[in-house]
Homo-oligomer: 327 residues x 2
Amino acid sequence: MNKHREIAEFNLIKHYFSALTPARRDVQLGIGDDAALLKVPHDRVLAVSIDTLVSGVHFYSDVSPESLGHKALAVNLSDLAAMGAQPAWVTLALTLPEIDEPWVSAFCRGFAKLATDYGVQLVGGDTTLGPLSITVQVHGFVPSGEGLRRSGAQVGDDIYVTGCLGDAALALHHIESGGAVDVLDIAYLKRRLERPEPRVEVGLALRQMATSAIDISDGLLADLTHILQSSGVGACLELEKLPLSRSVADSLRKEDDWTRVVAGGDDYELCFTLPEVDRIQIGELANRLGLPITRIGYIEEKAGLRCFKRDGTLWVPERSGYQHFAS
Amino acid sequence: MNKHREIAEFNLIKHYFSALTPARRDVQLGIGDDAALLKVPHDRVLAVSIDTLVSGVHFYSDVSPESLGHKALAVNLSDLAAMGAQPAWVTLALTLPEIDEPWVSAFCRGFAKLATDYGVQLVGGDTTLGPLSITVQVHGFVPSGEGLRRSGAQVGDDIYVTGCLGDAALALHHIESGGAVDVLDIAYLKRRLERPEPRVEVGLALRQMATSAIDISDGLLADLTHILQSSGVGACLELEKLPLSRSVADSLRKEDDWTRVVAGGDDYELCFTLPEVDRIQIGELANRLGLPITRIGYIEEKAGLRCFKRDGTLWVPERSGYQHFAS
């Protein structure tokens, strides 16, 4: 118990965040009281998602604090993107082993920059002493009935992913295993690992189109499986259609290397399903956003997820994804 | 990084909480998707508050998990109470060093029991591996313009507190220092430390009465000072008026022992201010709820907080309260 430690008042979050995130008109009362008071538009439902990042589990303790601030918010905005929600507010519970002012300042800079990019205001928080961990809750708006869910995939739907897969997993692989890699590759991969861009615009555009959506945090196979199970359907994927950066494509030496791509996780891309009739619209959306959106397979009735190689034979991964806690 | 650990799917929170908290009609989509979808009544604003409890900082690692589950939610409901908010939803981010099923099951039981008492539904969560810590965010409703704030105390207002002060601090003192105490006292004090009752009904009743309110988590002096600073006023307290349990009253051997009462924290009672004309109404409220509500002082113009002893002389505490992080 540190209950009796004599320490003067220091509202860490308030100190570093005041004026760093935008002031929204729907915030009646922000940081500094027992609770924030917030006004949700009457024709919207509130989407909320909470995620924790723990040092040594989700990130290395020596990661750049600015990147960590970015990522802590980005992975949560990615959840809102997968619901088709417009981000609005965020709360931050920060547990720190000590007050390292340059560290805290850099963390807040990374967090606040991304918050500002998406018009998100910090409305509450808590700072505590303890082993480094960060819990963020994001709040967004969806028109009633238009939220994207995992449960609506239909037999015959196409399956899409945004961006490229496997970059973050390859970055981690290099950090952990070393090996000769091009300097440009390293910079690219590290950015993809540490500074994921939440696909908020894609999620908003998919609201009245996609039959299901999820963000890829645990790996394509694990997350697509959530869609399949929620929707009561199965799927076929074609490995050769998976969108890969040059770095990842070059890293595929043997068949097992594909496991890293489909089960490595930390992609923070969206995976979603759509009827075949919407193919042209998706092409237009990709062009408008300047972001690859790639059709990688289709939904079928038979339960389970099957991956096919170029030669048409089945490929079975070593493992299907990362999950916290096993039964 | 545990990224590559091979563990099968196990949604801890879903497993233990399904059917444990009530199903509310304003929850369009609960646990199990990327975000929950929630409907706020059109004439209400949303009150949100987030708090983290860390093992070794806010509780001992050997505390009863059922009590811990209760307290993790109670301290957050206490924040809603201080806003005059009606509790509605909660999210839980649980970081555990390992899966100890009896522990998790007992934690969830304590949490869910209190959630059910207040009609609160668990709508989201995250479970991660790491040093034991618990982050809870609560969500409640307030009629627009009726939220209780810290900033409205007026010169001449009476100052009140609910319940008794200093019980939790005395319990901690006994745990840490030992000493001969009556068995009945120990049971009472421990319950007050581990199972605080959020004063939700009081907060709701104060909505159109109190000029300011706060919940006492860091100690009366520290928390009342937040009201004074937010309101730009000062206050006088009379020590002999502070409501004390028999256990705490008996523990006051020397003058410094008062410090534990006013600065020990963990009370989770409400402190609020009201115009003198409302004294009768407060008496009626206390009777209706069967809860002591005690007038302990008054607001004055002169900044700062002064405590007077029975003989009319000033008493200066050793320290004014617990705070995380010092500058």
